[in-house]
Symmetry: C2
Subunit: 409 residues, 2 copies
């Protein structure tokens, strides 16, 4: 069960004008559930994306980048679960292109107006025929109310569907934002095995949409890390159907953009935290903030060194205030001139380390009390600058090992 | 139980002329076993060391570096288990110095001729009094045959003692090399929670001994990684008592040095592999070799990216040929211009990936067969140069989580 996360009800995922969703069961794995999702966007819609930094990026990621680079409108997204189409070489690339062509034919649009996504096992051939066969059924099922079915179709080891909606008022017009995401292992820096799709009907110009996707990813999905692995397929896509009856938002200093950005960001943060809360085997949600660094990058490195340490993560699982492991992880962050005497850290409000050693006021029972909570904050100060960074992570449990030892069987 | 490792018998750990060892029970933790080790070296002995790169290095590591920097002879090593004296600030430093002073008094030598080492829980005050009280008992127990008792005294979560000896003939004189080591979690690049002490009676000049320690660490202890964490206390110390009746070895091109180096290296490799074989919860020993890189450093990064991926490690634990995870880890190594199409990899003799995708000849049953073995080799070619690198690691099991969730209790 996820840590402090209540999944949305179907009614809570609000339709977004200009966007319909349909799912079908293609039987990609030995399951009977829906595993293919088609998202259709009305003419004039645009999308932008942020993708994995893994050098072995999956074929659909390569095709998404190619199609988005054309600068055309986006008319459809096709997502399948059960097979990642990664590590599949030229055959995988051809497979991803074939599925786009099939969607283009089905919806009467251009191939480069279709974006493909896959999640699942790496290095197995994509069952193109099964996916193409499922397309007419997806198309027949397209509905503005399809968000809940959509998120269920793209789940892999997620234990709950993840989605969020916001409604905002812009100049008397209601603008809607709805997003869905799937995790849940392999979530890491630089976007990890995570697919997230966030849509709005606000008329955001394509150039602004590109910047917006990067800005939002940086404060949401790129803050989430589960096991430090970065997947071949991670993708975050922002869609704007421009169907809300508003003048186009074309300038970065348009105050309406701030309003939309804030709501998009809320949805993205909620989704990315939901991914961590439902991390494979997670029993704790840990917020790690590092402050007082010379720049954001070194704060980020320290935060991630803590977040990815298996020793730290198992101590959180055990509710064991073996906090020296956090000190050790800070020392391992690769900051060559870090002075341990400048390091202070708190567990929630409990001061644990001051001047590089255990704080005189620290009592183990206080550390113990915090460690038993399901939601814990670690705050580190490096005392060498003004920069800060935050990452969200979870603990490392027997559940993680079980899930990942049994994943394919 | 360790993977394919038979611990030495007491008789197999050969005395080294000029070196005696004594242990005692100081009661540092709630145990009754010996937990303090004193190693005494005859006058004219020298030592050199390679230490952790962790910025929060432990107090004894700081003191070791200071003492070795004096360039004097080394007359004693003091090692305790149960408390790492790390993250203990100035008080910890004072504590480490106090124990050295006590040894110096006990053995009538100078303080800077004593090297201190600690292993155990981080961020708890070192019980100096208990250790100092144990010194006379250690001194009374000093014996050339004390190697086996010595390694038992420094164990923490190790399941077996680790030690090795070699006898070599140099110009008709027998030279002995004996080493002991303790692991077993937190073993990682750049020396991790690992203590290793290797001694010889060969008369190696101090300047050569320094280079030799670095050279040997680089092909042995620095190749070992268990969970990617690097501890605050890792230390590898090479000791030369110069008691073998030979002319001093003073030049780096002395052929006798090659002979000694080869034997020292054999012992160091055996110890470092033993540490991995007895890694916390380990059920598999994995040898990862990356070849065809532009330089050793990028090969090393790819090898360590594979070795530290929790997804790869849990797949090994499960004997699951989910080999896409290895592809994913290669892509995560941070080599920005790596061309996936140049990547080939083999699991033992089975070709898995060629031209960046699954090899046409690959059959899952072949991958499955290799994955069930207790000892597996992963060989990756990057096809972009002539460099190679090797690391040794183990899998990630329920045992790891249990050990690290319960370590302090």
């Amino acid at each position: 069960m996820p840590v402090n996360y209540t999944p949305p009800t179907p009614e809570q995922l609000l339709p977004v004008r200009g966007i319909t969703l349909g799912t079908a069961a293609a039987g990609i794995k030995r399951w009977t559930r829906d595993d293919v999702l088609l998202i259709r966007l009305s003419p004039g819609s645009h999308a932008s994306g942020v993708f994995t930094q893994n050098r072995f990026c999956a074929a659909p990621v390569i095709v998404c980048r190619e199609h988005l680079a054309q600068g055309t409108q986006t008319r459809a997204l096709l997502i399948n679960a059960g097979n990642a189409n990664a590590g599949t070489g030229d055959a995988g690339l051809a497979a991803a292109r074939l599925t786009c062509a099939a969607v283009a034919k089905q919806l009467a649009c251009a191939r480069e107006e279709v974006l493909p996504f896959s999640t699942g096992v790496i290095m197995e051939p994509l069952p193109v025929d099964k996916i193409v066969d499922a397309l007419p059924r997806c198309a027949a099922a397209l509905t503005p109310g399809g968000w809940y079915a959509a998120v269920r179709a793209i789940m892999t080891t997620d234990t709950v569907p993840k989605g969020a909606s916001r409604r905002i008022d812009i100049e008397g017009t209601t603008v809607t934002i709805t997003g869905i995401a799937k995790g849940s292992g392999m979530i890491a820096p630089d976007m990890a095995t995570m697919l997230a799709f966030v849509a709005t009907d606000a008329p955001i110009a394509p150039a602004l949409l590109r910047d917006l996707a990067a800005e939002i990813a940086d404060v949401s999905f790129n803050r989430a890390t589960i096991d430090g692995d970065t997947s071949t397929n991670d993708s975050f896509v922002l869609m704007a159907s421009a169907q809300a009856p508003l003048r186009p938002i074309e300038r970065s200093n348009d105050p309406r953009l701030s309003t939309v950005r804030a709501a998009l960001q809320e949805v993205a943060v909620e989704l990315s935290q939901a991914i961590v809360r439902d991390g494979e085997g997670a029993t704790k949600f840990i917020n790690i903030t590092v402050e007082g660094g010379r720049d954001g990058s070194e704060c980020d490195r320290v935060a991630r060194a803590i977040a990815r340490s298996p020793l730290v993560k198992t101590a959180f699982f055990a509710s064991d205030p073996n906090l020296g492991r956090i000190v050790c992880a800070i020392g391992n962050a690769g900051i060559a001139d870090l002075d341990p005497r400048g390091v202070t850290f708190w567990l929630d409000e409990v001061l644990v380390v001051a001047d590089g050693g255990r704080a005189a006021s620290y009592r183990e029972r206080d550390g113990q009390r915090v460690m038993t909570k399901p939601e814990i904050s670690v705050r580190v100060s490096l005392s060498r600058g003004d920069a800060t960074a935050t990452v969200w992570t979870c603990d490392f449990s027997h559940g993680y090992v079980s899930i990942n030892a049994d994943y394919r069987s």
